[in-house]
């Protein structure tokens, strides 16, 4: 987009800025050539107006040899060539205009004095073009900065929305209703057990709310949250749900987006364990793989386990959050392996909170 023409209200000030330049040009004619003031003004003003528009074309060379992308010698060469061409065009237009003016009795024989104006015009033409090019560069840089800022804002809003959506999806109503039903059942049969489950449920809810507000948390914290979730579900499923954790100690401090692993564990219970008559074991393994962390969640595949590449909402959520946090440095893989369903994440091992 042209930094002057594409914006309403920029062309006026730009042309206005040419008025003093035109005045200076007239003064130059008056001093160098000795033309009268009316003669000087009659030549300088129309020519300045025309050149103002010629200089708007500086946008093309500015765009081709942009400050950020092009090498310095190329910028200089391009702009000097453009300046020379513009000045020569201007000279030609000036010559035509002076010849036309000479037809008017008042400016008779003005054209005879033109050759002496020519070098002044040529110099002024180059100078004015360079000024205009500088203005274009300035405005373009300004637009770029503004666009970058808007983009950053938009990205932030998007990320925020994704987080909110993740949080809202986080507390699955089934999970809550079923847990409350279990507590209700325990109240008569096992009052201490009921109280314990109340506390476990509250702990899980409190932690997920706290952690959900953070930008990143330690993997160890995230795994603790998943463990709390499993503790609640264990009351419901009893012996049908077992869990195994194999976590390498050196990855516990790695910073991850919050609520990254817990949805995977939840899926493992909802789609895996809940679909097996005799239940099974949810296995979470986290280990270091070079500069990355490899984390997998494995569960016996019930009937409902989605096919490889899964389309589950939870998995999709994890995928987009990983992509938002690490871009191409992270990967998600979901597949059926024999009777098991395994989701594997790989993401960079980062120890300091990324900001």
């Amino acid at each position: 987009m042209h930094p002057i023409l594409a914006y309403r209200g920029r062309l006026g000030p730009y042309l206005a800025a040419w008025v003093p330049l035109a005045g200076m040009l007239a003064a130059l004619f008056h001093l160098v050539v000795g033309s009268t003031w009316p003669e000087s003004l009659a030549v300088a003003f129309p020519l300045s107006l025309v050149y103002a528009f010629v200089c708007l074309a500086a946008w093309y060379p500015c765009r081709n040899a942009s400050l950020s992308a092009a090498a310095f010698p190329r910028i200089v060469a391009t702009q000097l060539l453009a300046a020379a061409l513009s000045a020569m065009l201007w000279l030609f237009l000036a010559d035509t205009w002076v010849v036309m003016l000479a037809q008017v009795p008042r400016f008779a024989r003005l054209d005879e004095r033109f050759p002496r104006i020519a070098p002044v015009l040529l110099g002024a033409g180059v100078l004015l073009y360079v000024l205009a090019a500088a203005l274009h560069y300035l405005l373009m840089a300004f637009e770029n900065a503004r666009r970058a800022q808007t983009q950053a804002l938009e990205l932030e809003v998007l990320a925020r929305e994704a987080e909110l959506r993740a949080l809202r999806a986080q507390i699955d109503p089934h999970f809550l209703f079923n847990s409350l039903n279990s507590i209700s059942a325990l109240i008569a049969a096992d009052p201490p057990g009921a109280r314990e489950m109340c506390l476990k449920l509250a702990e899980f809810l409190r932690e997920s709310v706290r952690v959900g507000g953070a930008r990143s948390i330690a993997l160890g914290e995230e795994l603790a949250l998943a463990e709390r979730y499993l503790a609640v579900e264990q009351a419901r499923f009893g012996a049908r749900l077992r869990a195994e954790w194999r976590i390498a100690p050196e990855v516990r401090a790695c910073q991850v987006p919050p609520l990254l692993i817990q949805p995977l564990v939840e899926n493992a219970v909802r789609h895996g364990i809940a679909g097996c008559l005799d239940g099974g074991c949810v296995t979470v393994v986290a280990e270091r793989a070079g500069g990355a962390v490899r984390l997998s969640v494995e569960n016996p595949a019930g009937d409902q386990a989605p096919a490889a590449g899964g389309t589950g909402v939870g998995l999709e959520n994890v995928r987009s959050r990983l992509a938002a946090a690490y871009g191409a440095d992270a990967s998600v893989d979901a597949r059926r392996e024999g009777g098991s369903y395994v989701v594997t994440l790989e993401f960079p091992l980062r120890l300091a909170a990324a900001d």
């Binding site: 109503p173 089934h174 079923n178 279990s182 049969a189």
Partner: protein
């Protein structure tokens, strides 16, 4: 509801979660004229319990492993009152609203359960049938073809994955499903099954036969204007003229 020689209501609980069963058991324990005849931890046990114990009423969870509540209902093939028990399920709730079938939401409230028991008693007393077909139709996601066929044999349940189904044959008043060399009988019409099968995979080649297209080995001219299909295992299936047309269209 004063019990002048009223027979107790025989109830079976079906839920895969032990605490949920315990809660129902506890609620039922204080209710007069109710006899708890079975507690089932999954759909298979439920089918078995109904076949062997003949309860009047099932308190039936919907989300269960392998055989969900609706599939249990489909397999029962007999008059039994059902109250669904569920945490929350849009599909299920819609099905119940359409058919005015009773359902309980978890966490369960005791007075709500008592109300459901009263309604079930009234329904049984008046001999109003339970709208199984309508409930199943409303609960099944529209347009999704069957992924497996369930067959009950006494108190046993066979689950036939759709890709293992070779051939279906209509007999007198039942259908016979052929899968991997075994035969299973099911109380259903061929047309009803055909409507639920994936039309790209299964073709009704004859008034009495549906064939899994992937099992087809060849078609032979048998007599003038009459053809038979040969399946990979050598089984020969007669083709009607319309059936042959449908098959050619698909291939």
């Amino acid at each position: 509801m004063t019990g002048e020689a009223t027979r107790p209501l025989r109830v079976a609980i079906v839920d895969d979660e032990a605490p949920a069963r315990a809660l129902l058991r506890e609620y039922l324990a204080g209710v007069p004229d109710v006899e708890l005849v079975a507690e089932c931890a999954n759909g298979f046990e439920a089918v078995k319990a109904v076949a062997e114990l003949d309860p009047d009423l099932l308190l039936l969870d919907i989300r269960m492993p392998k055989l969900d509540g609706f599939e249990v209902l489909e397999l029962l093939e007999r008059e039994v009152a059902v109250v669904f028990v569920t945490a929350y399920d849009e599909h299920a709730l819609r099905a119940f609203e359409v058919n005015a079938v009773d359902y309980l939401l978890k966490p369960l409230a005791k007075d709500r359960l008592l109300l459901a028991l009263d309604r079930a008693r009234a329904r049984l007393r008046e001999g109003r049938p339970f709208p199984v077909a309508e409930v199943l139709a409303a609960a099944r996601p529209a347009g999704a073809p069957l992924a497996r066929v369930l067959v009950r044999e006494g108190s046993r349940v066979h689950v036939i994955p759709i890709e293992k189904l070779d051939l279906v044959e209509a007999r007198d008043d039942y259908i016979c499903l052929h899968s991997a060399g075994n035969e299973y009988r099911k109380q259903q019409t061929l047309a009803a099954l055909a409507a639920q099968l994936d039309p790209v995979r299964f073709v009704r080649v004859h008034r009495s036969f549906i064939v899994n297209v992937e099992r087809l080995a060849g078609i032979e001219l048998y007599a003038k204007d009459s053809r038979i299909a040969i399946l990979r295992d050598g089984t020969k299936v007669p083709l009607s003229r319309a059936g042959y047309g449908r098959l050619r269209e698909l291939l």
